[in-house]
């Protein structure tokens, strides 16, 4: 736990120092120190690059990576299966779909909504989209406390396909400016990081983790089956509701702020399972940190590999995630 936290800090420093901008020989870390001290001697553009661009983006990568990984791990605990992730079961598409509707059609009904809702319309829609998809998949695939994996994955495919076609239709309808926004959802990027967004993300993460992270024991007990978990003093119904709502909230928020960044929720628990089996008391808190590490590395690579331009991060994570998904499928071939 401590080791991985230290690792995260080291990577954050490396990431801060990586980039196209030239600070006249100084390291970005020195500049950051001066920004925090409130030193007026540094140039405005140095300050802008370090604070508004790099630091805020690093924090966003840490927050988003962490949430995506934890949501993946908790979904796998709920469905008792390592294949359950936001993308596989259609949560991400649900969120993307409603966010897309909000972007394209939002202009028509925005004025009827209260101001608070107007401001965060895409965020709220993404959450509702994720929640709707989640409830649908859970209803279809689970009966009497047992999850049918095939049903789970197939209903995910169905939701993704519906989402894809409606998003396609919206692209067809949309104006140029909206089109740009929409393609941003589909690729996924952390380039839009600001401190306001980070504050919202930090709030969501705080509430979610207060509820989810102590549930490692409960998720372990769920491996025995819901009835036996109940005998061990676990309020199964409450646990399921918490996971459904909190993971939808996390996935929805991530989609609203960074678009679809796939497979983090699959890769991170997969790596941790290799080390700790399925012991959720370890893998749940550790996935919070490893998720940050993974996304931060991926983001730093994505913005430096084709410098001065940048590669959408979704491409990188899917590139790593796809083969791992196949590896899990092969490993679980017998039990599916």
């Amino acid at each position: 736990m401590t080791i991985s936290a230290i690792l995260l800090v080291i990577i954050a420093v490396w990431s801060l120092n990586t980039g196209v901008y030239d600070f006249d020989g100084k390291s970005a870390f020195e500049v950051l120190g001066k920004v925090i001290e409130g030193d007026s001697g540094i140039s405005l553009s140095d300050k802008y690059v370090v604070w508004e661009v790099r630091a805020s983006r690093i924090i966003m990568a840490i927050l988003i990576g962490s949430m995506l990984a934890v949501s993946g791990t908790s979904l796998q605990g709920l469905f008792k299966n390592p294949l359950a992730t936001g993308e596989a079961i259609g949560l991400t598409s649900g969120a993307t779909l409603l966010a897309a509707i909000a972007i394209v059609l939002g202009g028509h009904f925005k004025q009827y909504l209260p101001e608070m809702v107007q401001f965060s319309l895409t965020g709220i829609s993404a959450f509702l989209g994720a929640l709707g998809a989640m409830l649908l998949v859970y209803r279809i695939s689970t009966s009497a406390g047992k999850t049918n994996v095939v049903m789970m994955l197939l209903s995910g495919v169905a939701i993704t396909s519906i989402g894809f076609s409606i998003t396609g239709f919206l692209i067809y309808l949309s104006k140029d400016e909206q089109l740009r926004d929409l393609s941003f959802w589909n690729m996924g990027s952390l380039a839009g990081a600001t401190w306001t967004k980070n504050a919202v993300l930090a709030m969501v993460i705080l509430i979610s983790y207060l509820i989810l992270l102590p549930q490692g024991k409960a998720l372990n007990a769920m491996l025995l089956g819901e009835k036996d978990a109940q005998h061990l003093g676990i309020n199964v119904e409450k646990l399921k509701k918490q996971i459904v709502i909190i993971t939808s909230l996390m996935v929805g928020t991530c989609v609203a702020f960074s678009g679809t960044i796939g497979f983090v929720g699959l890769i991170v628990p997969y790596i941790l399972r290799l080390l700790f089996k399925s012991n959720y008391t370890f893998i749940l808190p550790l996935s919070a940190i490893l998720g940050s590490i993974l996304l931060l590395i991926a983001d730093t690579i994505s913005r430096s590999i084709v410098a001065p331009s940048e590669l959408p991060i979704g491409i990188l994570t899917s590139l790593i995630g796809g083969p791992i998904f196949i590896a899990i499928l092969i490993k679980f071939k017998k039990s599916l």
Binding site: P214, L223, D228, I234, N235
Partner: protein, 256 residues
């Protein structure tokens, strides 16, 4: 301990349980026996509050569904008939689950003690670092027995354990060991309700027998009262002879 009056349970108009009365005192070992499909497991599920029935079940003079879940888990535990085959954890992690009601994040010393003690008793201590999924059927059963009994290692008086066919897949030595563990548990004024298939083992260990057929109680009482040739051959629809056990003088059932 536990009182249930006139329990009925239906699944799609089909009576699985039909007005069953159960009454169990402190320190009693009750064996539920009967042919396949008699409703033994369903009765255990209803009593253990897994499925809701319309009738009240009084556990320690309080309706069992009014108990807080966490508190109830320290007073009673249940061994299920169908244990999951796929639990990607080590054996000691599975047994430690039995201690979940007692600690928050880190197991305390007494949790480790209870876990190790029960692993010794059920003879799985040497397997503690093995992965659960690689065990044989009988070993898995013992791991779960160990977990269920570790859950009730505490200072509370008069605890209750439900066991649904705990002897499945066990070899003869471990069948006796398992029943000894349950018997020792009931000697300390705790109670046990156990679904068994082996009538001769039931005679040796149980204080009371509940013989079921087609969702109804067909006989209830001490082993000597229940195990008459007539009761058994009617319930199982199979001929049998009863004679005295040469050593214990209990009834001994010979089928065929």
């Amino acid at each position: 301990m536990i009182k249930a009056h006139q329990i009925s349970y239906k699944h799609k108009e089909f009576h699985i349980l039909d007005s069953v009365d159960v009454h169990l005192g402190y320190g009693e070992f009750l064996a539920i026996v009967g042919p396949n499909g008699a409703g033994k497991s369903s009765l255990l599920s209803v009593l253990a509050n897994e499925v809701k029935s319309k009738q009240q079940i009084l556990f320690k003079d309080k309706n069992i569904s009014d108990w807080p879940i966490i508190e109830l888990s320290k007073h009673k535990s249940k061994f299920s008939q169908h244990n999951s085959n796929d639990i990607p954890l080590e054996v000691k992690d599975v047994v430690m689950m039995g201690r979940y009601p007692y600690f928050d994040a880190q197991p305390k010393r007494e949790d480790h003690e209870a876990m190790n003690h029960m692993m010794y008793e059920t003879d799985v201590y040497h397997l503690k670092d093995r992965e659960y999924n690689t065990l044989s059927g009988g070993e898995k059963q013992r791991v779960h027995l160990s977990r269920v009994m570790a859950q009730l290692q505490n200072d509370i008086a008069h605890k209750l354990v439900f066991l649904d066919e705990p002897l499945n897949n066990l070899d003869i030595k471990h069948q006796y060991k398992a029943l000894e563990i349950i018997k020792n548990f009931t000697r300390k004024a705790n109670s046990a309700i156990v679904v068994l298939h082996d009538l001769n083992l039931a005679v040796q260990f149980a204080d009371k027998i509940l013989l079921m057929k087609s969702g109804k109680v067909s006989a209830y009482g001490t082993p000597t009262e229940v195990f008459t040739a007539e009761n058994i051959s009617t319930a199982y629809n199979f001929p049998c002879t009863i004679c005295d056990h040469p050593i214990t003088n209990n009834p001994m059932i010979i089928f065929g």
